[in-house]
């Protein structure tokens, strides 16, 4: 589904990624773990086109997408739920979700009717959002905003979802709920690339995992393999 080869990217003159490569197979969940500043978020941003890689390849469904604008990549079926959630604060929760479906919904009229089925599915997944559908997204709590961000990504009917730190700044109870959702999506066959600082929790849902250090992948394997790796154990799994 997603193949990343020798990706280089950064901000301004400082290069954050120095040759990252990874693969996400269809129907699997892949976790990307590593310390703060290792380049996980930059990897996500370079994949989805928010920043332009300076070198390397990103293949989505076999199609090269590196260098395309993020909006083009999104319309090809990649949904990126960004770090810090980035909901549209001045819009209502429901409008946020509808915008999630921008890539396939009619642009002017009749989009509500067409989106009804998908909306119902998201509300079924997150009943709290249904209650708050008319509330402005900026006034939702952190946990609700995270659900909204995931729901918004789902609305695009994605082939592949990137979830960046879905647990960031959330209370443990909410984190559990987020991970329950991820498991449920996995059971439904969603392909996901997950960046998470709770390495252990991430490894529990993942089929495969990569460990990043200073802009490149240093270890990869199944969660079981990583669990046996001395270094990974010491550095990330406490």
């Amino acid at each position: 589904m997603l193949i990343v080869k020798d990706l280089h990217a950064g901000y301004g003159l400082s290069e954050v990624l120095v040759g990252t490569s990874l693969t996400v197979k269809a129907g699997t969940v892949v976790a990307l773990i590593g310390a703060n500043g290792a380049g996980k978020t930059t990897t996500m941003r370079a994949i989805s086109g928010l920043i332009t890689p300076t070198r390397g390849e990103v293949l989505l469904d076999g199609k090269p997408v590196q260098g395309l604008d993020a909006s083009r990549v999104a319309r090809l079926g990649l949904a990126h739920s960004p770090e810090g959630r980035k909901v549209f604060a001045p819009l209502s929760a429901e409008d946020n979700l509808l915008l999630g479906g921008f890539r396939w919904l009619p642009r002017y009229f009749g989009f509500r009717k067409k989106a009804a089925g998908d909306l119902a599915r998201v509300y079924d997944l997150f009943p709290r959002l249904a209650e708050r559908r008319h509330q402005l997204a900026g006034t939702l709590s952190g946990g609700e905003q995270q659900m909204l961000a995931i729901g918004r990504a789902l609305m695009s009917r994605p082939k592949l979802m990137l979830l960046d730190e879905p647990s960031m700044g959330l209370a443990p109870v909410i984190v559990q709920e987020v991970f329950r959702t991820i498991r449920r999506l996995k059971a439904e066959g969603m392909t996901m690339l997950l960046v998470e600082q709770f390495a252990r929790a991430a490894l529990e849902v993942a089929d495969h995992a990569y460990v990043m250090e200073r802009g490149r992948i240093v270890v990869e394997g199944t969660p079981a393999e990583l669990g046996r790796d001395e270094r990974v154990l010491a550095a990330y799994l406490g």
């Binding site: 700044g169 443990p172 709770f198 929790a201």
Partner: protein, 655 residues
Amino acid sequence: MLKRLLLVRGTEILLFALLAAIPLAARSPYALGLLTLLAIYGILLIGLDVTVGYLGQVNLGQAAFLGLGAYTAGILTTRWGVGIPMSLLAAGAVCTAIGALLALPALRLEGPQFALATLSFLALTTTTLTELEWLTNGSQGLSLVRPPLLGVTLTPRLFFWLCLALLGVVWVAMRNLLSSQWGRAFEALRDSPIATDAMGVGTYRHKVAAFAFGSGLGGVAGALYAFNFEYLQPQSYVYELTVVLLLGVVLGGRKSLWGAFVGATLVALLPNLLSNPALFRAFAVAGFAMALVAGVRGLVRRSTRPFQALAPVVAMGVLVLGSFLEKNTEDWRKGIFALMLFSVVVGLPEGLMGFAAKALARLFRVEPPSLPPAAALDEVLPAMTAGAGPLLEVRGLQRHFGGVRAVDGVDLTVRDGTIHGLIGPNGSGKSTLVNVVSGLYTPTAGEILLRGVPLPRGSLFKAAQAGVARTFQNLQLFSGMTALENVMVALRGAYRTPLPLVLAGLGRTEERRAQAQALALLELVGLGGEARTPVKDLTYGAQRFLEMARALARKPELLVLDEPAAGLAHPDVVRQVEVIRRIHARGLTIVLIEHHMDVVTELCDVVTVLDGGRVIAEGRPDQVKRHPRVIAAYLGHPGTEAGEAGPAEGAPAVS
């Protein structure tokens, strides 16, 4: 040294000598008029360049100050018979004062709003000059006679020399100002206003002072303008003139005295250029050729975007066509300005002199004057002995963003002379907490005391003045400067020479001392050899160390290090631990936000753990590491995800 004197000062002296000599050779009054105008515009544009170049703001009000200065001089001489020196002073003073008054509200704005405010000021000035008929004679205009100077009747030639001399004085004063702390402050506030404030150099007050200064120069130029033309009309100082002045600065090259001069030449000569078709055609063709060459080169080297390369060619092409097809080029004056300005702004953003300066710098390498030896560390960072009491007390601190409670009731006491660690998961409120303490955010509720005294709230500048210095998680260095200059900007108490003396060039001794002090701090963090390296050429690790040196230049009571090891390679982390130890050995109190647990364990006396905007644990590092709630929320042992805390979010971290 000699080479430097010869190349830099020599060309300047040569320029002024040449200009001064022209009237001796050519006696045409027409040429003399042009030269006089050139000198006046030179002063005006140097003033405009202060805002446009050094502050980086589009200023549409300079024509207004020209007008205000002209009318001040005109009214003073016609009504009260005031002489030239006093009129010049008064015009400068009036415009400086009005400039300051305008800047106070206007410079709280940025970009478009600032441009709009200055534009409105220009319109208001024109209205006022027209309507205050009892004072200005309204739209009929004000006639005046150039008064004698010290009993000498000023012939046009003498008057030109007066203007040229004043331009020389302004030139030298401006250069002195720019090579002092003021110049560095201007540079700094454009690169990072946040860091400028956090380093105790008030962004706002420097901006206001700079704008007022530039306006004052506009006033002086205005007075000369009045004495030159001896007739004033409000309609002369309008939008179109402002645009022409901007054209001068941009075309000549921003942030450059030479640029202002070249721009002034152009502005003064432009009307003549347009009235002579043959000359104009030649000029247009030359411009077209330049654009073509530059465009093709840019495209071949892929250094410019296609639009950037092609648009000037098209614009200049239109100009060439127009110059052959259209008879009345004067009617198209504005359109011609527009095409030229467009080509320059798009294709040559740094202006003619900016472009030339680069080329010249490649040809002649002029070494900067050598640095003094580093000062003793005791002079820069006197060793402190810890008092008994707490240094920093935070009580019931809250900071909410919309519905999100980033900091939700934090109590924290930092004892004097300790290294106090602050840890917690991403978004737990650590960064927000230090942002509130250092004055970036105003607290929603709660108290912050430094040595028992309330710390100023919501002002980085005031908090810095009160003794808090900080580094930034996402580096906020002044990227256009060298490592040494970055530290020099922040040096506390190093610059005491008053502004007039600085302008007169008497600030050099303290400048040397500041260099020596800054060098000592660079050596402390291990960057002694990189003093002259531009920040953008430093490695990422070196940049982190430089931020520490810069914060130390504040001689702070409390040093806040916001994730100093983020993104550092292991050897750098080790070095950093050493450096922090060395700093701590001077008796400094440090608050350290850090993710590397081993760094925290090694350095910190006390660690506070935040989660969901609240304190969940506090104690010695080894105690905290065993605390069950810390393990659950942060360290992540098996069987995680228990605990309790409200939802929260902090400033996002970059990874």
